[in-house]
Symmetry: none
DNA sequence: TATGAATGAGCTTTCATTCAT
DNA sequence: AATGAATGAAAGCTCATTCAT
């Protein structure tokens, strides 16, 4: 946790200082928000100087945007990586819900970053980042159609709204974890709690789209 | 708590600077986060000087905490204000879901504040604030039991998880509005969109708890 | 120590708030210096409002000057109060040295105030205050002359320098108490230590002026 | 102590801002006391910005402590530098008294700093600083013993009290210069006055320790 | 006489960013 | 590629002082 293990002086010339800065920046921005983040702290934890940071990223904002881009790149990859075509619609959807839920749990930093973005009215999300995240809608549309034809799903479900629901349940579980745990004295961090909640979320989504 | 000056329901012309500061602070903290918020800006918009801010609230943090307290006080009141006893369980639950959804929509500032709190690991939520927000669990438990006896709800539903689901769907609709709208080119702010989404959320919750 | 005993609501009208402010101000200025002193703290400890302080003393500086005047008035009185005429010169001088030493010990606040004054180049001491403190020189001059005639003192001793020596030994014992105690691990505050040191000081002064 | 930047004996043109700050800070703290001292003023006079001050010393307090340390380091050196072994005890003691007196006269800033420390109960003097200042006690003890064996000094003189007396007479001459000069209309700053007083102090000390 | 609210200047401290080496 | 030093703007906070009631 303290100091991310040094990448053993890899191939070419820079000892991976760019990567180390990026890692620490992700953590820092996610934990403190953009204004709360400190350029010094990032440089220190990354084991470099501020100079390097500015050399690679031009400014705090530049660094932030690079971090954000990386994070959105991550989810895009995760979502598009689901092989869902040779499952029946119910299994396919269940699988997607689980994977989405897991992704949020496994990438708290991403979640926190997105929270931040929303606090600032998502000013930094550009078309380029948005673009890669729209594949999921097509996948869901496809599944919904198959499900409706198979008779297992209702028809008339808007895939965007389905995605919104799936996302909401996964995102919120991670994003609001601290306040919820504190107020309602719930355990929301243990693997057990996560498992349990995940299945409830699957149930919820499936019962909503279920035919009848 | 120990902020001395009396509440005085806006007497003549200049009193009430405390209230004005509080209002602007809510807005500022919600829009910029704690670190992004500027004490100068708050004071200016409130039409006073920084000094008054410190006079009334002792520090930026003190102000933030007072704002937070007010915000949590608000939702507590809203929730405990639902008269639900002479409805059948289905109507009661529907009514609660709607009211919760509406509360989130109507109090974007509250939502943003809670986002912030979670970014900072909810350090500022104290027992006092938590306490007042737990009534909803009892209300839901009651409805669930009645529903289960009436045969309209499944048994075995944990009211905390039900609340988590309801909250997630309301909260996320507001909190992630900007990034979602941008990425998926959705309208999430118009009254129409809100109406539509609200009913989908009601459906979702009801179909989950429905018997069979 | 905490709160100087309230003067039981004396004769006329003001409940002694002026006096209480003065007492606390002496303590505050002596402990913190002029710039370190806080007007709020003085008013609070005196159990009044800042308004009263300004009403009575016009400004922080005005208060400081009044305090200083009181303090210098005190030593003047103490010194001129010594009845020394029907003692032989040695006893008279011994008595004066003791009394001066004791005065410094008993009036640490005065000592601290004078330290402060010297840090600020004694800007606040005016002729009026100086005037009353010169009697001691005449007294010493008289004793020196008698002693020289009696054959117990050397002649040619400058009474001002004698006073300077006496003052130095008393003043420094109080003023530099903290640093000395810390560096040399000495006890300088107990009655015993004071007694002991006092007699050494007497010895020192007497051996210096002694004939032979 | 943990103030990073290397001491670099004034290389080219701009380095050495640390030293310049330190010099001005000594002056400022000595003249105005800790609370009266202004960070702006120090930075300006040193020809830098406030930022550099904080960069090198972390806080106003940190700067103050560094200044203090330097000052105490100075007197330690001065005292331990006296070569006293091939003098007879009387000459040795006379030499020490003179040197101590001169040190105080030549380092008014040090004196003022110590006054300040005492006003604040010597909170900033730490063991490290105290340690180096205790050598003088051993030196005096040695001289006293030799003197007593040579028959020129009384026996039974406590070297700490001797040091206290020597210090008092030197310190007070500088520390209380302003108030004394004002009240008693004495010249205490001219070289002549200093010379004169110095010899009186020597006399005083020697007559006190003299055998009979 | 007394109290809470207000004022404004100024203080200490922080931070992103750049420069020289 | 890397380090320490420098910059300047602005942030959070404090204080003596005054006003209205």
């Amino acid at each position: 946790m303290k100091n991310a293990p040094r990448e053993r002086a890899s191939t070419k010339k820079n000892g991976g200082s760019r990567e180390r800065i990026l890692n620490e920046a992700l953590r820092e921005f996610a934990e403190k928000g953009f204004s709360g983040a400190r350029v010094d702290r990032i440089a220190n934890k990354a084991g470099t100087s501020k100079h390097m940071l500015y050399y690679h990223f031009r400014s705090k904002t530049g660094l932030y945007e690079t971090v954000l881009e990386g994070a959105y790149g991550g989810i895009r990859f995760a979502e598009s990586n689901i092989d869902v075509d040779h499952m029946n619609s119910v299994d396919a959807l269940r699988s997607i819900v689980r994977q989405s839920f897991d992704y949020h749990c496994d990438h708290e930093m991403f979640v926190r970053l997105v929270m931040n973005e929303n606090i600032h009215h998502a000013n930094h999300i550009d078309e380029h980042q948005a673009e890669g995240n729209r594949a999921i809608i097509d996948i869901l549309a496809d599944i919904l159609q198959r499900g409706s034809m198979e008779g297992s799903f209702r028809s008339g479900i808007d895939p965007k709204h389905l995605h919104l629901t799936i996302s909401a349940l996964g995102f919120h579980f991670v994003s609001n974890r601290y306040s919820f745990a504190k107020i309602f004295e719930m355990d929301l961090e243990s693997p057990r709690a996560r498992q349990e909640r995940r299945e409830l979320v699957v149930e919820t989504v499936l019962s909503w789209v279920a035919a009848h």
